[in-house]
């Protein structure tokens, strides 16, 4: 390997993969990117000769916390990723070059390696008013995304912003913030979370590189490897839940003993993420372990499922603390009231009818006879 870091092909050989496996991997990478099979040669070539796959990381409407999360990765650590795994050719957060030079890095990569670079996208794309709500180098996010996605070998949507629109798409979505899979026609690997767990992010990238294929995705484009279970399914507080032992109020005795946070609004039962298993920041903790419920940050539309501190979301148009129960109880009471009123009415209006059988030799009232239409 003459001192250079191994190419993907070399790395796979070292792991005992055959040439056939390698070609298979290239086929999958090509299929994933939606490029024609005729482009396969290029992919094979790229992974055979390039020691590190070229990567473009775009930033749109976001808070950069996905990048921040990424650099918190503990296995592998991000220094190794930057030096040994990937060639991160464009990322506004870390790259040395700025302005024209930065744009040159971007253009070099997408033109020199068509069908061979991995596109990572952080942030959503505003589709309103010609994209005036997110412009980079004088171009709109949408223009850049379409161009960059065209020849990408694989597209990963980092975080809830790129996967489902996240906070800027919360009601009333002032900029028409749109997740990328709704804009480009390629398959997108969605890695939701606000932000996603660092080790999940590097895990998804490593899956592509090490196993040579995209991780298996669910119907929402999320890797099953990290998103097939609810936080609740593997939450260490689950025994408290099943036993019906709940925190009733912040910092009460139950909270101090780590009871289940369900009644404090925990969204674990409706949230698909790896938090309770992989945990955060090197497996140290996750929201629930540190006493706050899950707010559902990897679920599409979670911002509009508030208020966060009650089990059921507010009912649109019925005030902030109204739940389905508020509305239901009101309607139920109205129904009972209606029934009671009807009962009273009946006893007044139909007294005659009710009493009729009680009268000795009761005879049907005259009106009754008029009615028949059958």
């Amino acid at each position: 390997m003459n001192g250079r870091s191994p190419t993907i092909w070399q790395a796979m050989q070292a792991r005992g993969y055959t040439r056939r496996d390698f070609l298979q991997f290239c086929t999958v990478a090509a299929t994933l990117s939606g490029i024609q099979l005729s482009g396969l040669g290029k992919v094979v070539h790229a992974f055979e000769t390039k020691s590190r796959p070229p990567v473009v990381w775009l930033h749109f409407q976001e808070c950069t916390c996905c990048s921040e999360s990424f650099i918190r990765s503990s296995h592998p650590i991000v220094a190794d990723i930057l030096l040994d795994y990937l060639s991160l050719d464009y990322t506004e957060t870390l790259q040395a070059a700025a302005g024209h030079q930065a744009e040159k890095s971007y253009h070099d990569t997408i033109t020199k390696y068509p069908g061979q670079y991995i596109l990572l996208v952080e942030g959503s794309v505003p589709m309103k008013d010609d994209g005036a709500y997110c412009m980079i180098g004088g171009r709109s996010a949408e223009q850049i995304l379409r161009e960059a996605a065209k020849d990408a070998a694989a597209v990963i949507a980092w975080g809830s912003c790129a996967s489902n629109g996240c906070i800027q798409s919360a009601n009333p979505n002032p900029t028409n913030a749109t997740p990328i899979h709704k804009i480009i026609s390629k398959p997108v690997i969605n890695v939701p979370g606000c932000p996603p767990i660092a080790d999940v992010m590097t895990g998804v990238v490593a899956h592509l590189l090490v196993f040579g294929r995209a991780p298996e995705l669910d119907s929402q484009g999320r890797p099953k490897e990290f998103y097939s279970r609810r936080v609740h399914d593997t939450c260490y507080r689950r025994p408290f839940y099943d036993a019906g032992l709940f925190v009733e109020s912040w910092d009460d005795d139950a909270a101090r003993q780590g009871y289940c946070l369900y009644k404090m609004g925990c969204r674990g039962p409706t949230t698909y993420n790896a938090c309770s298993v992989t945990k955060w920041n090197g497996g140290l903790s996750y929201p629930i372990q540190s006493g706050h419920g899950c707010i559902g940050c990897s679920e599409a539309g979670f911002w509009d499922n508030g208020p966060f501190y009650q089990h059921l979301p507010a009912f649109p148009g019925f005030g902030i603390e109204s739940t389905a129960d508020t509305i239901g109880a009101l309607a139920g009471a109205a129904a009972l009231g209606g029934v009671a009123a009807h009962l009273v009415l009946t006893n007044v209006r139909k007294r005659q009818l009710i009493n009729i059988d009680k009268k000795a030799g009761g005879v049907a009232a005259p009106e009754e006879k008029e009615g028949g239409d059958q």
Partner: protein, 238 residues
């Protein structure tokens, strides 16, 4: 099925002097459906409500000493399953059952049904008149309410199974997972599943009341009808 209609005119029916027809309306499968359904709801509603609003009980125990919330949930899922298959059966019976059980009773498509519905509404509900002629089987207003209830049942079963899919490795509930993204995530599904519970509660309030009303006011034997299958009709109404 007219042969099942027997005249009771000759039978000594004291102290009443009305002549009654006894009509076999509710076949056994329909009655079975009905009471299994009632039983399921007696479990589903309280357990569902508790799932949404667990009360603080036995809160001094340790988790390994109890499992009550788990049991509540299990009861909900188990009765939910029975509820669902019972409902499926009823749909089937809507195609093969007697004329009172047929689906076209519930989906009002004939002008006459709507005319009758308005009449029932003005006599039974608004009480603009004292009586109306009675027919056999469901009156259209009742039928409409059952139709709405069937829709609720369908919705509850679908949303319930969609939620259940993530807790089960059985293939069957997985058939319903597409509902989750369609409705905008598990949270939204839960929200609507919970909301629809109130829909069924309101149905039950009206339904049980009106069944007793018909007996109380008109003396039709409605209540026992769902047990025995027979309904009574005054002869002179024919």
């Amino acid at each position: 099925m007219a042969q099942k209609v027997q005249s009771m005119a000759g039978v000594r029916a004291q102290p009443r002097i009305h002549a009654y027809d006894r009509v076999y309306v509710w076949e056994l499968p329909v009655r079975n459906y009905h009471w299994i359904n009632v039983l399921c709801l007696m479990f589903l509603i309280p357990t569902g409500y508790i799932i949404g609003n667990p009360q603080a009980v036995f809160s001094a125990n340790e988790p390994y000493q109890q499992y009550w919330f788990g049991i509540v949930r299990f009861t909900h899922f188990a009765s939910g399953m029975v509820f669902f298959f019972n409902f499926l059966f009823r749909i089937y019976w809507g195609f093969v059952g007697n004329r009172f059980a047929k689906w076209n009773n519930y989906i009002l498509m004939k002008k006459a049904q709507w005319r009758k519905l308005i009449e029932v509404f003005s006599v039974d509900i608004l009480q603009l008149k004292l009586t109306r002629p009675m027919g056999r089987g469901h009156n259209p207003l009742a039928a409409l309410s059952y139709f709405v209830f069937f829709l609720i049942s369908m919705f509850q079963a679908a949303t319930g199974l969609a939620l259940y899919a993530s807790m089960s490795s059985w293939w069957f509930p997985k058939l319903f997972t597409w509902i989750v993204p369609l409705m905008g995530g598990d949270m939204a599904v839960r929200q609507w599943h919970h909301m629809a519970m109130w829909g069924s509660i309101i149905f039950i309030v009206f339904h049980v009341y009106i069944v007793f009303y018909h007996d109380y006011v008109e003396g039709r034997g409605t209540t026992s009808g769902m047990i025995s299958g027979w309904e009574f009709e005054r002869k002179e109404d024919e």
